[in-house]
């Protein structure tokens, strides 16, 4: 069945709620309204008010309550209306959820959903990609799918996982990307990257919406006789270092691409690991492509200049191949 990225997420949540009565949802406007993006549409009717909880505007309480419910054997899925508001529940995530297992052996099986990313003219507070903060927080798992198949499979895996998972959903993919999704139950394992497209001359390591930017560039490079491999990380923490390194060892050249701003982003981590562990294989510097270090601007010409795109990738890829 061909479904959108959004519908795939919706199905993932829905099926887990059907299979496991301990799964429940909480967040702002997720019930009657079905969520700002309609990811939870229909769920209130199906599962009732106790399992689809419309909360006050309280991100910290939403995350906190999810944690508390998880201690009682539940598997809460909390929605941040936009990923930009996750900073309002930050302490609960990084200090409470992330550390309980380590500190006192108390697992926190929660999922925090966070619609992230730009390209929708949302401006500085409806466009951010804050994944790197969480990648720097041991105890969390961090996910960002790029396809409908992964979106559903990762959501189901995240809900079943016994650790706290921050699940970034790229808003620009919600209705733009469609894909085949099996009707039978399946999961996509957390912590495993995938080779989105095979290639020989260079590797681009990326995730989320940028996978499609990379794919666009790869098509063009193909015409030029350049074969670019695309590694889709899918899970950002724990990082599937092996898949990344295997690709780079094969191609000897690597570009890390993400939509989040450059400095302190996930790209630095990936680049550092490549240099540290595949230095001998490298036939050129590991390059990074990311948004510039600014807030996400609102006006279309500014946002267009801000976002990484195929053109920027092509330029660096051609340079690196020639290196």
């Amino acid at each position: 069945m061909q479904v959108t990225y959004l519908e795939a997420i919706r199905q993932g949540i829905w099926e887990e709620m059907e299979r496991d009565p301990s799964v429940f949802l909480l967040g702002e406007d997720i019930g009657v309204y079905g969520g700002a993006f309609k990811v939870t549409a229909g769920m209130l009717d199906r599962f009732g008010e106790e399992r689809v909880v419309d909360t006050p505007i309280s991100e910290s309480a939403i995350v906190g309550a999810a944690i508390g419910a998880s201690f009682m054997g539940m598997r809460p899925v909390a929605e941040m209306q936009f990923a930009d508001f996750i900073s309002c529940g930050f302490d609960q995530i990084v200090n409470f959820a992330a550390k309980c297992r380590y500190r006192w052996n108390a697992p926190v099986p929660i999922v925090v959903r966070a619609p992230s990313g730009g390209g929708i003219h949302g401006g500085p507070f409806h466009s951010q990609n804050p994944e790197a903060w969480f990648v720097h927080t041991p105890g969390l798992k961090v996910v960002q799918p790029s396809t409908a198949y992964d979106a559903k499979g990762l959501m189901k895996a995240a809900i079943r996982d016994n650790d706290p998972v921050i699940f970034f959903e790229h808003k620009a993919l919600y209705r733009r990307i469609k894909g085949e999704v099996p009707s039978a139950d399946y999961t996509v394992p957390l912590g495993k990257a995938t080779i989105f497209r095979e290639g020989r001359h260079l590797s681009v390591i990326t995730y989320g919406a940028m996978v499609h930017v990379a794919a666009e560039a790869a098509e063009i490079l193909e015409q030029e006789g350049i074969s670019m491999e695309i590694v889709d990380l899918r899970t950002l923490l724990p990082i599937d270092e092996e898949t990344v390194l295997a690709s780079v060892r094969k191609t000897s050249k690597a570009i890390v691409l993400h939509e989040a701003t450059l400095t302190g982003g996930v790209g630095g981590e990936i680049s550092a690991r490549i240099t540290e562990k595949a230095f001998e294989y490298l036939d050129g510097p590991v390059l990074r492509i990311a948004a510039p270090d600014t807030p996400v601007p609102y006006s279309p010409p500014l946002e267009e200049a801000f976002l990484p795109n195929a053109g920027k990738l092509l330029e660096k890829a051609r340079w690196l191949v020639r290196y």
Partner: protein, 355 residues
């Protein structure tokens, strides 16, 4: 609904009041100003939401204050020019009161360089320190601690000025709301807190937002006074805000005003508000603050129907012109993308040859 309260002569004598001293009939003059700003706000937002947005000319989301205009206008006209305003996302009238041009507003909504944020932020996320208006960030109630700090600073500076911060019923659930008010209360900072209780936060009705009846029920927990007013009555809002402002200016600390009103739209331009029971639209439609102000003015002889029609025509003309200007105005230059993240480094001092 609260009856129109007559303006006490003492109140009118206060220098912080709207400048109507020396005017033959100050009540009539102020009524005209209420009507003007409320109507300008309505006309501008209608144009944005019902026309430009549908034409695809607006970039991003649109949140309007239809039906709630009496709140920001009634409160805003209490503020002295150097008082500091922290509007929320349904308080466009405050910008007009502070002299922001309609064209700056339309350019803002269209992402143009001439917008108040030069295309860097969206819609109501605008501000201007020169006009003493602080731009919100998206996170509801984040402005409350910031406003508390501004008020603390004014107190420290022995300024006669005070701070007004606006927010919705939903925002009161945020931790920042609590922390900000509590700090301001302990510090007796001159802060007027204005809640537009429009009974919904996006799709969430009041009883899913709070278990108390009124937002005002929270004031005793901060040791501050509160009052509840008819938020569709600009005069009532004005009077209450005036009391609050006097309280703050006298060094007595924060004061909360809860304005009961209703959001006469969906949450934003893409939301039809289907979750609102139909009869509530009707009930509250009948309380339209602009219609009420007109009626009052007609009844009291502050204006004739013709004068009111002329006013609306004038406003429409202003808005037409502003929209045309904004549409013709340029988008920001992408080469400015990375400017002004930080203060630019000062130009290096000219090197002088050593003697």
């Amino acid at each position: 609904m609260a009856a129109l309260k007559p303006v006490s002569p003492m109140a009118l004598a206060s220098p912080q009041r709207c400048d109507t001293a020396g005017v033959a009939n100050p009540e009539a003059a102020l009524s005209r100003r209420f009507l003007y700003y409320m109507s300008l706000m309505r006309e501008a937002e209608d144009r944005i939401e019902r026309k430009l947005y549908r034409q695809g000319k607006i970039v991003g989301g649109v949140y309007v204050g239809r039906g709630q205009e009496a709140i920001c206008v009634g409160a805003g006209l209490v503020a002295a020019p150097q008082d500091v305003l922290f509007p929320s996302h349904r308080d466009l009238g405050l910008f007009f009161i502070r002299g922001v041009e309609p064209r700056e507003v339309f350019a803002q909504y269209m992402g143009r360089a001439g917008g108040l944020t030069q295309g860097r932020d969206a819609n109501m996320h605008m501000g201007d320190l020169n006009r003493r208006i602080v731009a919100i960030i998206s996170a509801m109630a984040a402005a409350v601690p910031v406003a508390a700090g501004a008020a603390m600073a004014l107190k420290q500076q022995r300024s006669p000025n005070i701070v007004f911060v606006f927010f919705g019923d939903g925002a009161t659930s945020r931790g920042d709301w609590h922390e900000g008010i509590n700090l301001a209360a302990v510090q007796k900072a001159p802060l007027v807190l204005i809640c537009n209780n429009n009974q919904y936060a996006y799709s969430t009705p009041l009883d899913k937002q709070m278990a108390c009846r009124d937002v005002a029920d929270r004031a005793p927990g901060y040791g501050i006074p509160a009052e509840i007013v008819d938020g569709n009555d600009a005069w009532a809002v004005y009077e209450a805000t005036h009391r609050a402002a006097e309280h703050a200016r006298q060094g007595l600390g924060p004061y909360l005003i809860e304005c009961k009103t209703f959001r006469m739209t969906g949450h934003s331009a893409h939301d039809a508000g289907d979750y609102v029971p139909k009869d509530r639209w009707q009930e509250w439609g009948a309380k339209d603050p602009i219609v009420r102000m007109e009626q009052l003015m007609l009844e009291r002889g502050y204006a004739s129907r013709q004068q009111l029609d002329d006013l609306h025509a004038e406003i429409r003309g202003q808005v037409d012109e502003a929209v045309a200007w904004a549409e013709a105005s340029p988008f920001p230059d992408p080469s400015t993308l990375t400017d002004n993240v930080y203060e630019p480094a000062p130009a290096p001092a000219p090197t002088v040859e050593k003697a």
